[in-house]
C-alpha cells in the first residue's frame, strides 16, 4: 500500500506487557482518591470502577474534575490520597506516564493531538506498541506483522485512503479518528477519550459513535463528553461527576429524572436537550 509499510524484513521488538488481571470483571479501580490544588479539592474522595470491556460515559459540569481524573489515571497528576489500580495487581500510582501507557492505557486529548508534519501511517507507526526501546527505534523498516496491524487500524478508523497524507492536512474529524487509531496501535486494554466529538459535524459524530461502540468489548472505553445526544447514542452506563465526586451513576434515562442530577447539572434546562 505504501513505501513505508512495504518492508517485510527488519525486526520490531515487542514489549512484553505485564498481563492485566481483570478476572473479577473490573479493569480499573479508583478508590477514595483526593487531589487538592492550592486548597481547592479538584477530586474529593472519588471512587469509581470501570468494568472489563465496558463503555462508560462520564459527564459533569465544568470543573467537576473530569480531566483531573484522567490525569490521575494516566500518571500526570499524583493524588494526595487514595488508590488507583489497573486490574487486581497493578498499582498505577507507582508508575509514570510512559509506563502506564505501555501497561495498556491509551489517552486521547480533548484537542486533537496528532503529529502534523508526519503522515497518517507514520503517526500510527509512532504509536505502535513494542519497539519503544532504543533498539527498536533505530530502524526505518517495518515487519510484515507490524504492517498488517497498521492496515487493520487504518481500516477501522476509515483512513485507509489517507495513509500517505500528512496528518496536518486532515479534516478535524479525521484527526480525531487518527488519534483514536494511534491509541489502538498501543493495543490498550483501556481507552480514555476526552470530548471526542467537540467540533464535529453530525455525520462525523455518528461515525465516531459507531467507532467507539465497536471498540467496547475488546477494550474498556471511558468517554468524557458534554454532548448529551452523543452520550445517549453510545453509553450503557453514565457517571455524573460533580465537585470532584460521583454524584450519580446509572443509565442515562434514569439519571435524566434524578432530581439531584437535574439540579446540579441539568438544572439550567437548556443545557440538556
Amino acid at each position: 500500500m505504501s513505501e513505508l509499510i512495504s518492508d517485510l524484513d527488519g525486526s520490531g521488538l515487542r514489549l512484553r506487557q505485564e498481563t492485566v488481571d481483570a478476572h473479577h470483571g473490573i479493569l480499573l479501580y479508583l478508590e477514595e482518591v483526593t487531589v487538592t490544588f492550592d486548597g481547592f479539592k479538584a477530586i474529593d474522595n472519588l471512587s469509581l470502577y470501570i468494568g472489563d470491556g465496558e463503555l462508560r460515559c462520564i459527564i459533569g459540569p465544568n470543573g467537576a474534575g473530569k480531566t483531573t481524573m484522567m490525569d490521575i489515571i494516566t500518571g500526570k497528576t499524583r493524588p494526595d490520597s487514595g488508590r488507583v489500580f489497573f486490574g487486581q495487581t497493578i498499582d498505577l500510582l507507582k508508575l509514570d506516564e510512559p509506563a502506564i501507557a505501555r501497561m495498556g492505557i491509551g489517552r486521547k486529548f480533548q484537542r486533537p493531538t496528532v503529529i502534523e508534519p508526519l503522515t497518517v501511517l507514520e503517526n500510527l507507526e509512532l504509536a505502535m506498541s513494542g519497539a519503544k526501546r532504543l533498539r527498536g527505534l533505530m530502524t526505518t523498516r517495518l515487519t510484515g506483522e507490524e504492517r498488517d496491524r497498521i492496515a487493520a487500524v487504518l481500516e477501522k478508523i476509515g483512513l485507509t485512503e489517507q495513509g500517505r497524507r500528512l496528518a496536518g492536512i486532515l479534516a478535524h474529524g479525521q484527526k480525531q479518528w487518527l488519534e483514536i487509531g494511534m491509541l489502538l496501535m498501543q493495543e490498550p486494554r483501556l481507552l480514555l477519550v476526552d470530548e471526542p466529538v467537540a467540533g464535529m459535524t453530525p455525520a462525523e459524530m455518528d461515525r465516531t459513535a459507531e467507532l467507539l461502540r465497536s471498540l467496547a468489548g475488546d477494550h474498556s472505553v471511558v468517554v468524557v463528553e458534554h454532548d448529551m445526544g452523543f452520550v445517549r447514542s453510545i453509553a450503557d452506563q453514565v457517571t455524573v461527576l460533580h465537585q470532584g465526586r460521583v454524584l450519580a451513576e446509572g443509565r442515562l434515562e434514569d439519571l435524566q429524572i434524578d432530581p439531584m442530577v437535574i439540579e446540579v447539572y441539568l438544572g439550567a434546562g437548556d443545557a440538556y436537550h
Binding site: E3, T74, K76, E97, P98, A99, A101, R102, G106, R107, F109, T113, V114, I115, E116, P117, L118, E122, E125, L126, A127, S129, A131, K132, L134, G136, L137, M138, T139, T140, M182, Q186
Partner: protein, 362 residues
C-alpha cells in the same frame, strides 16, 4: 542504486554532499598544485577560512538536530564547541615541548609564568593524540549528558531551558577566564607548533585539516540525516510538536532528549576540535553567550529542521561576517540582529524554505 532510501529521497542532502566532494578535492588541488601566481590559486589563508566555515557548519548541524527536530533551543552550544576545542588545544600545547618561551619540557608557558611546579592532574594524558581526540568527544558529551539528565528529568523546557543553557556557557566562560583553572586564563591556549609531528603552519597540514573538516561535516550530516529518518527521528518530531502526546504514547521523553542532546554536543565538540588547529588559538571568548546565539541565527537563516539549511546558513552568515567585519566592522552586530529579525518575520523557514516554496509554485 546502492544508496539507502533515506539518502536517495534527500535531494538537498545529495547536493550538499556533492558540493563537499567538489571542494574537498578542488580546494587542495587549487592550493597545492596551482602555482601561486595563477589567478585560480587559493592561498593558505583562504583554505583556513573555508575550513573554519566547515567547522561552524558542523556546529550548526548539531544545533539543528536538537532545535529543528526536537524543539530544544540551546543557547549554549558554543560551550560544547569550545570544550572540544580546549581538549584538542591541550594536546597542541603539550606538543610544543621545549620550544616554548620558558623551554620547560612539560609545563606550558602560562603555567611556568604562574610559578606552577607540576602539571595539574587533568592535563595528564593530553600529550597523546588519541587521548585528546577522545576527550574532545567525551568532555562535551559528558557535560551535555549530566546537564540534560537533570534538566530534562525535571521537565525544564522552552525558554527556561534556553536561559539555563545560556547561563551554562556564561559560567564556563567566567571559569575559564580564571588563571587558577589552568587553561591559560584570558589568553587561552595558543602558539601551537605542530600536530602529530607535522608543523601546524605547513600548507600540507592545513590541507589535511581542511579535508578532515570536510569529512567531519559530511559524516555529521549523514549521521543526523539517517537519525531523523529512523523511527527515533519521528519520535523526536513528536516530542517537538507535542511532548505530552509522545509521553502518553509510552515514550520516555527525557531519555530521548538526553540522548540526542548528548549526541549533538559531541558533534559540536568534534567541530571545535577541528577548529582550534586551523585558527591557531582557543580562549574563553569562545564561551561567550553571543557565540551560541550567533550559531542559532545561522540555523534560523538557513532554515531549521532541514540540516542542509544549517550548513548553508552557517557558511553564508560567516561569509557575510568575514566581509563585513573587514569592510565595516562597527555595523556587524547590527547587521546580525537585523538579519535575525528579518528572517524571523519574512522567512520563518529560512532560505531552504524559500527555495522549497519557489519549487512548489514553479
Amino acid at each position: 542504486m546502492l544508496l539507502p532510501r533515506w539518502l536517495l529521497s534527500d535531494r538537498a542532502g545529495l547536493v550538499l554532499l556533492a558540493v563537499l566532494a567538489v571542494i574537498g578535492i578542488g580546494v587542495p588541488v587549487l592550493n597545492l598544485w596551482v602555482p601561486p601566481d595563477h589567478p585560480l590559486h587559493l592561498t593558505a589563508y583562504t583554505v583556513t577560512v573555508l575550513g573554519k566555515y566547515l567547522c561552524y557548519a558542523l556546529l550548526a548541524v548539531a544545533i539543528d538536530l536538537v532545535w529543528g527536530y526536537m524543539g530544544i533551543l540551546s543557547l549554549g552550544h558554543a560551550a560544547f564547541f569550545a570544550l572540544g576545542g580546549y581538549c584538542f588545544g591541550m594536546y597542541l600545547m603539550r606538543q610544543i615541548g621545549t620550544r616554548g618561551v620558558y623551554g620547560d619540557p612539560v609545563l606550558p608557558d602560562f603555567m611556568v609564568f604562574l610559578n606552577w611546579q607540576e602539571l595539574p592532574w587533568y592535563w595528564h594524558g593530553f600529550d597523546m593524540f588519541w587521548f585528546a581526540a577522545l576527550m574532545a568527544l567525551v568532555v562535551p558529551g559528558l557535560l551535555a549528558f549530566v546537564f540534560g539528565w537533570f534538566a530534562f528529568r525535571s521537565r525544564v523546557s522552552g525558554v527556561y531551558l534556553s536561559i539555563i543553557t545560556q547561563a551554562l556557557t556564561y559560567a564556563l566562560m567566567l571559569a575559564f577566564f580564571r588563571n587558577e583553572m589552568g587553561f591559560g586564563g584570558n589568553n587561552g591556549l595558543t602558539d601551537f607548533k605542530d600536530v602529530l609531528g607535522y608543523s601546524i603552519h605547513a600548507n600540507e597540514t592545513r590541507i589535511v585539516l581542511f579535508i578532515l573538516s570536510v569529512l567531519a561535516l559530511a559524516g555529521g550530516y549523514l549521521l543526523c540525516r539517517w537519525l531523523v529518518s529512523t523511527r527515533l527521528g519521528r519520535v523526536m518530531v513528536a516530542i517537538r510538536d507535542s511532548e505530552d502526546r509522545a509521553r502518553f504514547l509510552g515514550y520516555r521523553v527525557e531519555q530521548v532528549k538526553t540522548l540526542i542532546f548528548t549526541l549533538s554536543a559531541i558533534l559540536a565538540g568534534v567541530a571545535g576540535a577541528l577548529y582550534v588547529p586551523q585558527v591557531g588559538i582557543i580562549n574563553p571568548g569562545e564561551f561567550a553567550p553571543l557565540n551560541s546565539i550567533e550559531a542559532v541565527i545561522w540555523v534560523a537563516v538557513g532554515g531549521r529542521g532541514t540540516l542542509v539549511g544549517a550548513v548553508a546558513g552557517a557558511v553564508l552568515v560567516n561569509y557575510a561576517k568575514t566581509w563585513l567585519t573587514g569592510a565595516l566592522p562597527e555595523i556587524w552586530l547590527f547587521a546580525l540582529g537585523g538579519l535575525f529579525v528579518a528572517v524571523t518575520l519574512l522567512l520563518p523557514r529560512g532560505l531552504i524554505g524559500l527555495i522549497r516554496r519557489r519549487e512548489a509554485t514553479a
